[in-house]
Symmetry: C2
Subunit: 195 residues, 2 copies
DNA sequence: TATGGTTCCTAACGTTCGTTAGCAAGGCTG
DNA sequence: CAGCCTTGCTAACGAACGTTAGGAACCATA
């Protein structure tokens, strides 16, 4: 099981370096020669490991989509938990992914538009279903009286906004951990919260 | 006064078309030939009106910075108003700019990083002072007991997040106007609000 | 009727882009 | 030791990039 890891090693290294560059400079403004220089090799050499520049972006975006989706599924797996609890768990999971994979998350959030079809449509479908699940979670919580908010749709928007903005200010050495951030978000945006 | 308007007409048209393209495809991914095609002319012709591609971006970013700054100054001009009232007015003004100049706002929010020095540093300084003013406004409101929030710094972050996210969902034909959005933001993010 | 400003064209410049072909060195596995 | 896989190189391809030069209409004002 450890024997296949070195096989993907260089490719994973390319993904990781590209992720950092895509985040800092943007996908379109990052050239393959820049990426190669950051890796200490020549531009042509990259193509021994990947098929195209967009393939890297594709891999980043869909890997993160998988991580976010998996977190959501896990958070909502326990059907006996209240909607508010499921929501808080989902937010916690989302924040954890954002923090643990910060560079890739930013690429996922902002560079997906440079995907070409049909990957673009597939990506947008995933994103839509993810957001819809959150909206439904909030609606169920409000309906059950576990959450209070004057406008559920508006609360959902504010929630996504805060989650998307998080990588802009989060510092690893800050005083807030994932759980505390998730708690604050839930409290601040959704009034009460039933355990 | 109307005679100088036609003089700038073509240049303004270039700015406007470029703004829409920069928003949809990103600055780096938008070519001068694309921009020319959208204008119905050849690429070289653009340079009768502008000096460089970056000059367009520069003009967009700093024009919006001016608009946001002017709104903030106006909202805080009345020193006799409470901090909470000044904050609500500032948010209202910000939302109004976002909605009225949606394309340019998105470019302002996301494409500024493609500015080169020294414009980049100048831009960041403006942005920092703008955010600092909001943080101070919130702090003053909390100190005066007009606003309630468990964590003022966190509330400021959530506020900027919601404002930045707004162009992503706002539709002109939606049911919420600028004032209602500003009111909801203030209420949702800052507990009570003294008139 | 001359002049100057605005507008746009064609043609091309030098550079950079993503990508490919062909080859070679090194290491692991049979 | 043979073969394969990984890794990287040099050199170059065609395309696209931002930008410039030089010229030509058009339209206003003097």
């Amino acid at each position: 099981m450890e024997t296949t890891a070195p096989t993907l090693s260089r490719k994973a290294q390319i993904d990781q370096t590209a992720t950092a560059l895509f985040r800092r400079r943007g996908y379109a403004a990052t050239s393959m020669r820049e990426l190669a220089a950051a890796l200490g090799i020549e531009a042509g050499s990259i193509y021994s490991h990947i098929r195209s520049k967009e393939e890297i972006l594709h891999r980043i975006c869909f890997r993160l989509a998988d991580e976010f989706m998996a977190g959501l599924r896990q958070a909502t797996a326990d059907a006996s938990a209240s909607a508010a609890t499921q929501l808080r768990r989902a937010i916690e999971s989302h924040v954890r992914v954002l923090i643990h994979d910060a560079d890739a998350s930013v690429v996922f959030l902002h560079e997906w538009r440079h995907l070409s079809e049909p990957a673009l449509s597939e990506f947008l479908k995933l994103r839509h279903s993810y957001e819809a699940a959150y909206r439904e979670l909030i609606a169920r919580g409000v309906e059950a009286g576990e959450l209070q908010t004057p406008d559920p749709a508006f609360a959902a928007l504010t929630l996504f906004a805060s989650l998307t903005w998080l990588p802009n200010w989060y510092r690893k050495d800050g005083k807030l951990g994932p759980d505390q951030i998730a708690e604050r978000l839930t409290d601040q945006l959704l009034g009460g919260l039933a355990k």
